[in-house]
């Protein structure tokens, strides 16, 4: 009789402990993961996205994980891995992975997904994107402003429709807007990390007479800025503030930190407001910006900063849209 009572007590106690643990598990922090196309040491795009996750980890009570260097072939496996491990939000930090992510998202409607800079969304897939052109067109404007040889260079990572229709169109429009005589030379590296090739392309540009280079190409950016420093020409930093690399060379920075987008998605998830659908954020929302290097402000031509800021204001007010820019360039028979 006594023995069974002891058993009962032990049983009740065990049950209570189990209950406590299960409620603890229910209020466990949100599990948020990011899938990155390149190494997290890759400055610009990938590192910025990773920083967004780390910043969110400091600010919110979340459990985080990341997988870097995920190729197209490994993407679905990585996604399914995170789903099986019970992650609540999986951020895919590469626009090219849009369709495979949608396919996997269809398999598990209870998990939330986010794609940075994507194009297609679904009920459980939130797409958060920058404009791809606002900061770039302001970089073009700065390049047009600073050039004396009327030749400016733009180095892009991969040859893609986005590169042509958004990045290059924006840059050319900005340059022509400020300096109609400016000629833009655009080249593609074909990789986010081929530093040697990026350097060679920058050197070739300089030989052609280019005196301002804007590089939008991951790790290559730093190398290009170094080449510009050696050659004594201007450079424009991309994605993050790159002035520290060469304080006497980087005249301005076209900021489009993916950190902001990643952090924003996580914040919405934590607050419980994240929904499927595509949201585009530009200068107006603080997702993109142009900043001048304070050390070199006296090197800007007269009224230079005002001209740029006027264009910036037009973009913020919505007086200039991407379609208008493309139309304008088409009218002038300029290929982008």
């Amino acid at each position: 009789m006594k023995k069974s009572k002891v058993f009962l007590r032990v049983f009740v106690l065990a049950f209570a402990i189990l209950m406590i643990f299960s409620t603890l598990a229910m209020t466990a922090p949100l599990k948020i993961a990011i899938i990155l196309p390149h190494a997290i040491t890759s400055e610009g795009w990938t590192k910025s996205g990773f920083d967004g996750l780390m910043k969110a980890k400091e600010d919110f009570d979340i459990e985080t994980s990341y997988q870097e260097n995920v190729s197209e072939g490994e993407l679905k496996g990585a996604l399914r891995g995170y789903i099986a491990e019970g992650y609540d939000l999986i951020i895919v930090h590469e626009m090219g992975y849009n369709d495979p992510t949608l396919e996997v998202a269809e398999e598990s409607p209870d998990t939330m997904f986010a794609i940075t800079y994507g194009f297609k969304a679904a009920d459980n897939v939130a797409v958060t994107s920058g404009t791809n052109w606002q900061a770039n067109s302001l970089a073009g404007a700065v390049a047009g402003l600073m050039t004396k040889s009327n030749k400016v260079g733009f180095i892009i990572s991969n040859d893609s429709p986005v590169a042509h229709n958004f990045l290059n169109a924006g840059f050319i429009y900005g340059a022509k807007r400020i300096n109609p005589k400016a000629e833009v030379i655009t080249t593609f590296v074909g990789s986010w990390s081929d530093v040697v090739k990026g350097k060679e392309l920058a050197k070739a540009m300089i030989k052609q007479g280019v005196d301002v280079i804007y590089s939008q190409c991951g790790v290559v950016n730093r190398a290009v800025i170094e080449v510009c420093e050696e050659a004594g020409i201007w450079a424009i930093g991309a994605v993050e503030d790159m002035s520290y690399v060469a304080p006497q060379t980087v005249i301005a920075n076209a900021l489009a930190p993916t950190e902001y987008l990643v952090y924003g998605v996580i914040k919405e998830m934590v607050e419980g407001t994240l929904k499927g659908g595509r949201v585009v954020k530009g200068i107006k929302d603080g997702a993109e910006e142009i900043t001048f290097n304070p050390l070199l402000k006296d090197k800007l031509p007269e009224n230079g900063e005002e001209k740029i800021m006027k264009l910036r204001q037009e973009i913020v007010d919505g007086d200039i849209t991407l379609e208008q820019m493309q139309e304008e360039l088409n009218k002038q028979n300029i290929k982008f």
Partner: protein, 357 residues
Amino acid sequence: MFDIRSSIINQKKYKVFYAIIPFLALFIALFIGGVLIFFAGINPWKAYNYMLQSIFGNIRLFSEVFTHFVPLVFCALSFAVAYKGGFFNVGGEGQLYFGALTATLAGVYIQGLPAFIHIPLVLLTGFIGGAFWCWIAGILKIKLGADEILNTIMLSYLAILLINFVVMYFLKPANSYISQSEKIAKSAYFPKLIPHTQINLGVILSLLTVIIIYYFLYRSPYGYQIRAIGENSDAANYAGMNILKGTMTVIIISGGLAGLAGASMLMGTQYRLTPAFSPGYGFEGIGAAVMARNNPWGIILTAFLFALLRVGAGAMQRGVGVPLPISWTIEGIIMILITGSEYLSNKFSTNLIGGRA
């Protein structure tokens, strides 16, 4: 009398030793990897434990192994067949890409066929594509004596860039901003053997191909000729074998197998061609083949091991944050140990039985 017997015994010992080597290499590599993981500030026991748990604890995750296994088997077979025939095909990656391109053309632009016709058709076009890309290097070797190692590897980069260009300017749907081809027709998808997993027809096809290649190489007279050419082409020529025809057959089969890897990836998992289609299966396949000493049966094991390592690397990174380069290092150490052990065991056998093995 006594001498012969002892040499036979030694040979038997030697065979056991031969079979143990890969496993020994694996364990040493995992041990060194564990040390590296430890220095990265992570408990290696926890990392490996997590890796095994996440691979074998869930059928859906376990099935991911096969998405890597199938192309790896094809690529490894591609290298092994060429090696046996005396052709050093290190351009499996390029042939994979080109096979995927031709397979995509057949998968996207031929619509409305029933699956039992469409699947073999797409596979065949993949085979032809890969074979064609290898044939270029082959014909350069046969006609001009150009080094095939150089040519196959250069053609690899050429193929990757070419696919990048073709996808971007021709295969991309006009209204899409993303550089990728359209999806292949549903009739060309590999049917899934177990629903909701990645185990599809490709697994059976790859295993069937292993059997076919084994019988072709070791049980058919033509395979014997090919191996003879690979061992010593002068002797084979003296024996009246047609060297050119034999080499050409090897080239076509080797390239075609790599092309099948591309087609199987397309039909089994990815369904569309993208610029960065393969994560390096062509190169990893060489590793799998070398580790299996170019034996088709061994390739099943080594390809499976490499696939496990790939999935495991991802799992270790997701779960406990082991940096990916460490996982690659483990793979590299296995390769170094295997190639090193080959040298050592050759030396060992030379000392032991006078170089007769």
